[in-house]
């Protein structure tokens, strides 16, 4: 994908984003670009504005200033209805705690987004099964989130985020509550899956070992992107 200048057009771009939370200025002029198929890590200390940046880029909150352009359209100006359709069709989201529905089995959790989009139950279940297998949680389909380990639950959450074939996955500290071996399993599964499907990932983390799974790192300091310094 390139424009006439030969520079690749980013799939998602935030420019000069500012956003206040109460009296806290969480973002002060943050800009970044995410390209097709790219895994981008956004790192920074607690309170540097990482999660707010993800929320603005994913269309969960609107920035006070600046723009968010996704596939050629201004996300920050899109009416709520169209925005919520786009979030459902094009984006997948994973948080530190997977937010799986506790009453549903792993397979039902993964099948749910497909069924909400109109896929028949049998077909949705088959697709969910394939994704659970890809994430190494085959055999646990019938378990409920409370019966899964932290690492298994996060892999189910990732399967749920990817099952609809999103263009971008937003992951906010997806391994924040896991030990290093479970982290490795979750990250390896995520990287292998998105490399196959060509999905872009915006990965928020404070952990350098997790950021090292990404292609590139953008560092946030006090709500803005730190200038890049050549090594």
């Amino acid at each position: 994908m390139s424009n006439n200048g030969g520079t690749p057009v980013p799939l998602l771009a935030g420019r000069d984003l500012a956003r206040k939370h109460g009296r806290t200025q969480a973002l002060r002029g943050a800009s970044l670009e995410l390209h097709t198929g790219e895994i981008l890590a956004v790192t920074g200390t607690s309170g540097s504005g990482k999660s707010t940046l993800l929320h603005c880029l994913a269309g969960i909150v609107r920035p006070d200033q600046g723009s968010v352009v996704y596939a050629g359209q201004r996300l920050d100006q899109l009416p709520e209805k169209r925005l919520s359709v786009l979030r459902r069709t094009d984006f997948g989201v994973v948080f530190q705690f997977g937010q799986l529905i506790p009453e549903l089995t792993a397979q039902d959790n993964v099948a749910l987004p497909l069924m909400l989009a109109g896929t028949a139950r049998t077909q949705a279940h088959a697709r969910a099964g394939e994704w659970l297998e890809r994430f190494g949680v085959r055999g646990q389909e019938e378990l409920r989130p409370g019966e899964l380990s932290g690492g298994q639950a996060q892999r189910v959450a990732l399967a749920r985020a990817l099952v609809t074939g999103p263009k971008v996955v937003f992951a906010d500290e997806p391994t924040g509550a896991l030990d290093s071996l479970a982290t490795e399993q979750v990250m390896t599964a995520l990287v292998h899956a998105v490399r196959e499907s060509g999905t872009s990932v915006l990965l928020i983390t404070h952990d350098a070992q997790v950021a090292a799974y990404a292609d590139r790192e953008v560092r946030l300091i006090d709500g803005a992107v730190a200038a890049e310094v050549a090594a």
Binding site: H192, V229, A231
Partner: protein, 180 residues
């Protein structure tokens, strides 16, 4: 940094059975994939010293169609020396002699720009961590590769944590100096 004990590593490799220098070098490089490869010269000198000290002995020669090679085996003294060394506690880094640490201190002393240095060093560390992560997550990565990449990753990560904290301390320090 305490140098790795080549003699004990060779004794360790001999613990699985008699072997010749060429084979020991090859197995060393396989078992310690991220370590500096052993030079053949070093392998032979070390083997001769092990024999001199009674920790290894010559078992015979092996030609196997090619050039004749001396085959060594560990002695009983060699085995007990190996288990003594393997159980001995390594000193938990008694002195801080790290180049990154030294550069930051010198930079503060000389009114340099430690912050810019720390950011550039972070970029280099992250680049290396991405390489190691790619090596480790490759579908055909064997256990020795995974273990050595993990070891390197955790040490680079420790550097990065120290660098992040230091950068934050420098900001506070500068603010205090400016306010004075």
């Amino acid at each position: 940094m305490v140098p790795m004990s080549t003699r004990h590593i060779l004794l360790g490799l001999l613990a699985t059975g008699p072997s010749h220098g060429y084979d020991l070098k090859r197995r060393h490089d396989e078992r310690f994939p991220q370590a500096r490869p052993l030079a053949y010269g070093q392998v032979y000198t070390t083997l001769q010293r092990l024999v001199r000290d009674g920790l290894a002995e010559v078992e015979g020669t092996d030609s196997d169609g090619g050039p004749e090679r001396t085959v060594y085996r560990s002695t009983d003294d060699g085995s007990s020396e190996l288990s003594r060394w393997a159980g001995e506690i390594a000193p938990p880094a008694p002195f801080v002699t790290n180049e990154i640490f030294a550069k930051v201190v010198v930079s503060i002393l000389s009114n340099g720009d430690p912050d810019a240095y720390l950011r550039a060093q972070r970029t280099a560390h992250m680049e290396r961590m991405r390489e190691l992560t790619a090596v480790k997550t490759a579908k055909d990565a064997d256990l020795a590769t995974v273990l050595s990449a993990d070891y390197a990753l955790n040490h680079l990560d420790a550097d990065l944590r120290w660098m992040t904290t230091t950068a934050a301390r420098l900001t506070t320090l500068t603010a205090e100096v400016d306010a004075a």
